[in-house]
């Protein structure tokens, strides 16, 4: 029964978070956004005391239910492990906890985070890793299906679905996601929750707490017939059958053993503050070999197809300009605050309806989102990234607040400018929502050129996006290290 409840809840959370990460409509976060905000690391980074305390209490009471229900990467591993179990029964056996590795990794993680190397550290953060997998690997599939439906709906003049472009936001992000997916997939296929109990920093922290949890699965030695079934099927490999002990720091409270025991000898029950006896076992330390799968990045970047039916001019793709300072969305406050909190979970990247956010490829900020305006600009009425960000990297802002936050300022590249060459343009000035661009007469040539009032520019990128010059716009936005209030 408890197992069924666990599976039911886990399915709910897993589907909810997956949908949230795949969503293209911008509606789901209203209903599912809380699921992302309940993620442990993100809540810690966002200083979300209620969630952090709540999760710690939950763990102290019932054990690592978080790992079995709320963490999407955990549930994903359960899926792989389950498939593995179909192929290869009774593949688990008790091993001693690799505590030395666990705590070194945890310490390293914390040190990296504190020193500001978040980008590297969060590669092993569970929810963020799953976010990258969903965003880079699953979302394209999801959108293709959506687009199929949209095409069908269009036949019936229905506006229930609309088409969304699938585009490669970052090759690096795709590779990282694929590697993570294959690696964790293989690990869990063979060794169940090994990742969670050795590498995962959240698992390690919660493991420290769950040692003392009030409810635990306990083996009744009276009833136990010593068949060892529980241990052979325990994906956390934490049931010591010889000594009839269960290592609560590694148990993810999946309740599988309760059902696997034919003699009904395992009970999940209140044990109070009884001290956990951690006994050394003689079982040899197993070296686990991490096989790195060769990732064949089988993505074909098909060049954007242009239909030329005689009536339409070909539009050349825009290229990303070189910026001194990366652009971060309004709400990020600045690059420092952003770097301190972002776990590169890609939720904002998946959410962005204007194709502005994409994972960065810079070393310091690897996979953290940055902005660019080849396919759209940061629309003034949209605050979706700030609405969904679970870790406080992009703090919630209102539309009104957004209109007065300058994340950057436009820079004119006179050499590219049509107007400077005497053409009749001025589109940047005409469309600027902040009224920050004026066409002025260039003393050198007498032609008009755009001039930017830096004190008005909010860095939305509309000018860059709408500039008719291709592939490099004649006006682009340079980021601000600290966002300023206009």
């Amino acid at each position: 029964m408890l197992r069924k409840i666990r599976i039911f809840l886990a399915t709910l959370f897993f589907l909810g978070i997956t949908l949230l990460l795949l969503d293209v409509t911008g509606v789901l976060h209203l209903y599912l956004g809380w699921m992302a905000k309940m993620q442990f690391l993100q809540a810690v980074l966002a200083c979300n005391v209620v969630v952090v305390v709540g999760l710690l209490l939950l763990t102290l009471l019932f054990g690592r239910i978080y790992c079995s229900v709320i963490c999407p990467l955990g549930v994903m591993q359960d899926c792989f492990s389950w498939i593995g179990g179909k192929v290869w029964k009774h593949r688990f056996h008790y091993t001693k906890a690799h505590n030395w590795l666990r705590y070194i990794v945890l310490a390293l993680f914390v040190v990296l985070m504190v020193l500001g190397f978040n980008a590297v550290a969060v590669l092993i953060a569970p929810y963020a890793a799953y976010g990258r997998i969903a965003s880079s690997l699953l979302q394209p599939v999801y959108i293709w299906v959506n687009n199929l439906l949209a095409t069908a709906a269009a036949h019936f003049d229905s506006y229930a679905f609309y088409s969304v472009d699938v585009w490669l936001k970052s090759g690096v992000a795709l590779i990282v996601a694929a590697v993570t997916f294959v690696l964790i997939g293989l690990l869990s296929f063979r060794w169940g929750r090994l990742w969670c109990n050795t590498i995962c920093p959240v698992g390690s922290v919660l493991g420290l707490v769950s040692r003392f949890s009030l409810f635990k699965p306990v083996i009744d030695t009276e009833k136990c017939k010593g068949c060892g079934m529980c241990g052979k099927k325990c994906k956390a490999m934490c049931i010591d059958m010889e000594h009839h002990k269960i290592d609560a720091s590694r148990c993810v409270a999946c309740m599988d053993c309760l059902e696997n025991c034919k003699s009904d000898a395992i009970k999940y029950k209140f044990v109070g503050c009884a001290k956990q006896e951690t006994e050394e076992c003689d079982s040899s330390r197993r070296k686990f070999v991490v096989t790195t799968a060769a990732v064949t990045a089988g993505f074909a970047v098909s060049a954007q197809e242009h239909k030329v039916d005689g009536g339409l001019a070909v539009i050349e793709d825009k290229q990303v300009p070189k910026r001194n300072q990366q652009l971060k969305p309004a709400g990020a406050k600045g690059d420092r605050n952003f770097a301190k909190h972002c776990t590169s979970c890609q939720l904002c990247v998946s959410e962005c309806p204007n194709q502005v956010l994409r994972p960065s490829t810079g070393l310091q900020t690897l996979l953290q989102p940055e902005m660019s305006f080849e396919r759209g600009y940061c629309r003034p009425e949209c605050t979706r990234c700030s609405d969904v960000c679970p870790s406080g990297a992009i703090k919630p802002i209102t539309v009104a607040e957004k209109s007065s936050i300058s994340i950057g300022y436009a820079v004119v590249v006179k050499h590219n400018c049509l107007s400077a060459k005497g053409e009749n343009c001025g589109n940047c000035a005409a469309k600027c929502p902040a009224g920050a661009i004026k066409m002025v007469s260039d003393p050198a040539t007498g032609h008009t050129i755009p001039a930017v009032n830096e004190n008005r520019c909010i860095g939305c990128g509309k000018c860059e996006y709408l500039c008719p010059v291709r592939p490099f716009s004649a006006i682009y936005v340079e980021g601000r290290t600290e966002h300023i209030q206009l």
Binding site: Y159, G311, E423, N427, P468
Partner: protein, 474 residues
């Protein structure tokens, strides 16, 4: 088994019981005999007084669109005017209280005055007022002789000794001299009426009684309007004809080019107590076929009143409006308009507010007369110009028109639906990079368009509309 028994047997349910009880209250009452509209009233017409105490019907019969034998408007058609039909309509109008007929030498390709003369000569001269104009717009009629000849010809064609209202036609428009040079509106006025002494001539004719009221009609440059009014102390204009309707009231620039807002024009005239003739109460028929939501708003208030009637009531709502000229081609137009003014019910504050709201929305929405010929393509910046216009017009015609989001839930649901249909449909029919926001107004398309559409201006307007929708400001 009769119907009641049958229902009792069949029903037993609440529905049947309800049907039976209704049946008992009104046994077999037939209500739909037809003739729901009833007679067009003959003695209810509202009249207003001019400066000399003449009672003029609020509805003036405009004779610019008299019917042809093909049953179409004689303004556009070359075919012969249908004199029988015209006689019939004039008789009907007079019988129902209409007493002012407005024409001009060039109307219906020069055939209107003659036809009006034929129709009205069958009535007593005191049964009707005649209004015509001195239309010496072409430079070959700028000489005193030619202008006088034109005036005399009007009297002859209309078969009258005097005209009740004569207007200097089209003040405020520019003309061309013999060399084909465009003259500014002020200069044009000078050539037509001052240099040749025609204004003095007309004043003289007014003294003689051959012109009972002298006025002018205005389009275009407001400088000329202001100048003519500045002469009021000397000339004493008896009336002025302006374009007035709920779009022109505050949105003249959006709907009729150079014209000043009729709010201003009317204000200036009322200040001087000059009776006002109104033209274009329906703005060339545009206010008779409005977008769906506007029609809904009107029908919710007055289900049986026509859409056009609102425009007519607006046109006559100000006290100094003497008569509203409507160019009527069909008997049904005439009948509907007579009903509207028999008698005229003034609009209250609330109704005026509704019309102002409709006007505000309307000006963001005139359809673009694009025929999709694609002569403008390819746009050097990749825009799909005909695609943008086609989507815009389609949404307009299908009623996916987004208006100010007002209070009730039902409305906001419809609003969201229409907004979605517009925006999703836009992305579906025109790729993002080919949408209106990418137009840089280079103007290369303008000279290619056979419809004379100001493409960059229209694209900018559509883009502004899309922006407003996305920002949730509409």
């Amino acid at each position: 088994m009769d119907r009641r028994e049958f229902l009792k047997v069949l029903g037993g349910g609440a529905l049947a019981t309800a049907a039976v009880s209704v049946g008992c209250d009104h046994p077999n009452e037939v209500v739909a005999e037809g003739f729901e509209l009833g007679e067009v009233p003959t003695d209810q017409m509202t009249y207003r007084e001019n400066l000399h105490g003449d009672k003029v019907s609020l509805l003036g019969f405009g004779c610019m669109r008299l019917p042809t034998i093909a049953g179409e408007s004689g303004r556009e058609e070359d075919q012969e005017l249908d004199q029988d039909r015209i006689n019939e309509m004039f008789d009907y109008a007079i019988a129902h209280g209409v007493n002012l007929f407005d024409t001009a030498p060039p109307y219906c390709k020069g055939r209107s005055e003659h036809s009006v003369g034929v129709a009205l000569s069958r009535h007593r001269r005191d049964e009707y007022f005649i209004s015509t104009k001195l239309s010496n717009m072409r430079c070959n009629t700028w000489s005193r002789e030619a202008s006088i000849a034109m005036f005399e010809n009007s009297l002859k064609e209309l078969q009258v000794e005097y005209v009740d209202y004569l207007m200097l036609h089209c003040m405020g428009l520019s003309g061309r001299d013999e060399a084909g040079n465009e003259l500014d509106p002020m200069e044009t006025f000078k050539r037509r009426f001052l240099d040749n002494g025609m204004l003095d001539y007309l004043l003289e004719q007014r003294k003689k009684g051959r012109i009972r009221n002298l006025g002018f009609s205005y389009h275009g440059d407001v400088k000329v309007f202001d100048y003519l009014l500045s002469l009021h102390k000397k000339i004493h204009w008896d009336h002025v004809l302006i374009q007035h309707n709920y779009l022109n009231w505050q949105h003249a620039h959006e709907v009729s080019g150079e014209d000043a807002n009729s709010e201003y024009l009317y204000g200036e005239l009322e200040k001087r107590n000059i009776p006002v003739f109104v033209m274009e109460p329906l703005l060339g028929g545009q206010l008779a076929s409005l977008y769906d939501d506007a029609v809904d708003q009107m029908k919710r208030r007055e289900p049986s009143r026509s859409v056009a009637s609102w425009a007519f009531r607006f046109a006559a709502n100000q006290p100094r409006i003497l008569t509203v000229l409507s160019g009527m081609t069909y008997m049904e137009h005439l009948q509907d308009n007579i009903r509207t003014y028999s008698p005229m019910t003034p609009l209250n504050e609330d109704e005026l507010k509704m019309l102002a709201g409709i006007a505000n929305t309307y000006v963001t929405f005139p359809t673009v007369p694009c025929t999709g010929c694609k002569y403008c393509m390819p746009c050097p910046y990749g825009l799909d110009i005909p695609g943008i216009f086609a989507h815009y017009n389609k949404c307009l015609n299908e009623g996916d028109l987004i208006v100010v989001n007002d209070s009730t839930d039902e409305d906001s649901k419809a609003y969201r639906k229409a907004r979605r249909a517009f925006l999703v449909g836009y992305d579906r029919s025109v790729p993002k990079l080919r949408q209106a926001d990418h137009c840089i107004s280079c103007g290369k398309c303008v000279t290619e368009c056979p419809q004379g559409i100001e493409i960059p201006v229209q694209l900018a307007r559509i883009n502004e509309y899309v922006e407003n929708l996305k920002m949730g400001e509409l």
